[in-house]
């Protein structure tokens, strides 16, 4: 646990709200608009923290606890996720299981808080969210298992640390398939197109947005921040596989990783701009497809 390993967590905490800004700017560019300021999410967070919260009389302590527990879990997960070649704060064998479990915890408390309101919109969103996550979990786990088998390491930090040019040259197709599966998981978990449209204002078409309709003030700020953190961490997961370079200098590696992160945000923005949202009927097919791609990668690795 040297000083270097604090940096991924610090960067995540400070820079993660920048990611939604970059994505929105990319989408605006495609649409021919100027778009929101890059730091808009920071302004939103600041504004929300200053406001007061309104609680419905039908809710209980779960509704108040949900966002806070979610944020705590996200922060803990941040301690596990390395950035590129830079190791994370906590690293032990099979820490990716804990990571996935913490993300699951975030989702669980969001869902439970949504159900606590007793509103039908939230319930609908909750059921969709849980269904789609049930389909992405296998994809995530199979992809991580493939990665573990490929690199021979069991901890996220060491896994990403050992992905190198040689790996890409030797088993390029396998790693490519893993990246594809993880990208689809990223898009699904963060409620991006083609799974969910973050800009829609029609509750019947929402998944994630509709679950958090009733939160306000600091609670909503926590939720927004948790979403940004989740985006950062899953992005770091994809980045860890994609970036094979390892120059000797750790600062150069960090700079490359940061560049990669914002590049990934641009890619997400591009995907959001060129595709339309899939009909809800076909989203399971997409997610199972991601699972199948990961399974193919696993089979190719195991032979």
């Amino acid at each position: 646990m040297n000083t270097l390993s604090f940096i991924p967590l610090l960067l995540a905490l400070t820079l993660s709200p920048l990611l939604p800004g970059v994505i929105n700017r990319t989408k605006a560019f495609f649409a021919g608009r100027h778009g929101q300021p890059l730091l808009q999410t920071y302004f939103d967070l600041w504004k929300l923290l200053k406001k007061g919260a309104v609680y419905s009389r039908t809710t209980t302590w779960i509704f108040r606890a949900g966002p806070i527990i979610g944020l705590a879990a996200a922060l803990t997960a941040g301690m596990l996720m390395p950035l590129g070649k830079c190791p994370a704060l906590l690293a032990f064998p099979a820490d990716f299981l804990l990571f996935a479990g913490l993300l699951g915890l975030v989702r669980f408390f969001t869902v439970v808080a949504a159900l606590d309101t007793g509103s039908s919109f939230e319930g609908m969103g909750a059921s969709r969210e849980v269904f789609f996550s049930a389909l992405t979990e296998p994809a995530l786990f199979i992809a991580l298992a493939t990665l573990a088998r490929q690199t021979g390491q069991l901890s996220l930090s060491t896994m990403f640390g050992s992905v190198s040019n040689a790996h890409w040259l030797h088993s390029g197709p396998v790693l490519g398939l893993v990246v594809l599966a993880l990208m689809i998981v990223l898009l699904a978990e963060n409620s991006r197109i083609p799974v969910d449209d973050p800009n829609t204002h029609l509750e019947l078409t929402m998944i994630h947005e509709v679950m958090v309709l009733d939160h306000s003030g600091p609670d909503f700020a926590f939720i927004l921040y948790t979403a940004a953190l989740k985006l950062w961490m899953l992005g770091a997961l994809v980045l860890g596989v994609v970036l094979p370079f390892s120059s000797g200098n750790p600062w150069l590696d960090l700079a490359l990783a940061l560049g990669g992160m914002f590049g990934l945000a641009v890619v997400i923005g591009v995907v959001e701009s060129v595709m339309a949202r899939l009909r809800l009927l076909f989203v399971p097919q997409l997610l199972i497809g991601a699972g199948a791609v990961a399974a193919v990668a696993l089979i190719l690795t195991l032979r």
Binding site: A292, V293, A295, V296, L300
Partner: protein, 212 residues
């Protein structure tokens, strides 16, 4: 490395076929698969390129990439269909079955006593997987065009097998196989046209007057 990439892409295209209900997209996917497989022998023997190998590759790409899709799209247009109807086995189950078939192909490929280190160790498993996927499409789909596509995938798998197994299949025989695929698709296209004209649909599960 290139051959590995092509074979992985072939595996992915087979999975896409198993999970897709849009007939137009399926025809294009099979055409892409055919083109990639046509290029496979050229890439595998890129050092000993001979005239007949190149001619065969060009012929295969032309037939599978251009002629077959044209014939099948014509059949689709005549029958005025765009999608598969509710198939015997649902799409998600099809993909899961496909994954099981892929695992089985890898297992079988390891047990088969053929020396196929060149051009790639992925060759026999992906060939077996194409064969199984093609068979599954023939059995589990209801529209006749989908069955023809399954047959084409089956032939692709056998062709891939041939590229790896026999060091140099005699030129005339390879030509025979190609011609056979062409005539088969041609014949099946005409058959689909007649079936559509007579019955006004091309769903083979509704062809059930002959029993016993």
């Amino acid at each position: 490395m290139m051959t590995n990439l092509i074979l992985v892409l072939v595996v992915l295209t087979n999975l896409k076929l198993l999970g897709s209900s849009r007939l137009g997209a399926s025809i294009r996917v099979v055409a892409a698969q055919g083109v990639m497989l046509g290029l496979l022998p050229v890439l595998a023997h890129v050092h000993e390129l001979s005239l007949h190998l190149a001619a065969l590759a060009v012929g295969t790409v032309a037939l599978k990439g251009v002629v077959f899709p044209w014939l099948l799209f014509r059949a689709l247009r005549e029958a005025e269909v765009t999608r598969e109807v509710e198939p015997y086995v649902g799409y998600i189950t099809s993909i899961l079955v496909g994954l099981a078939a892929l695992a089985a192909s890898f297992w079988l490929g390891g047990r088969l006593p053929v020396s196929t280190v060149e051009p790639s160790s992925l060759l026999v498993p992906s060939a077996l997987f194409s064969i199984l996927a093609g068979l599954f499409l023939i059995v589990a789909r209801k529209r006749a065009v989908n069955q023809v596509l399954g047959f084409l995938v089956l032939e692709n798998g056998i062709y891939t097998f041939g590229v790896g197994i026999v060091a140099e299949t005699p030129f005339l025989v390879e030509l025979g196989v190609l011609l056979d695929a062409f005539v088969a698709v041609f014949v099946m296209g005409i058959a689909v046209y007649h079936i559509n004209r007579e019955f006004d649909h091309i769903e083979v599960d509704r062809l059930d007057r002959l029993k016993g």
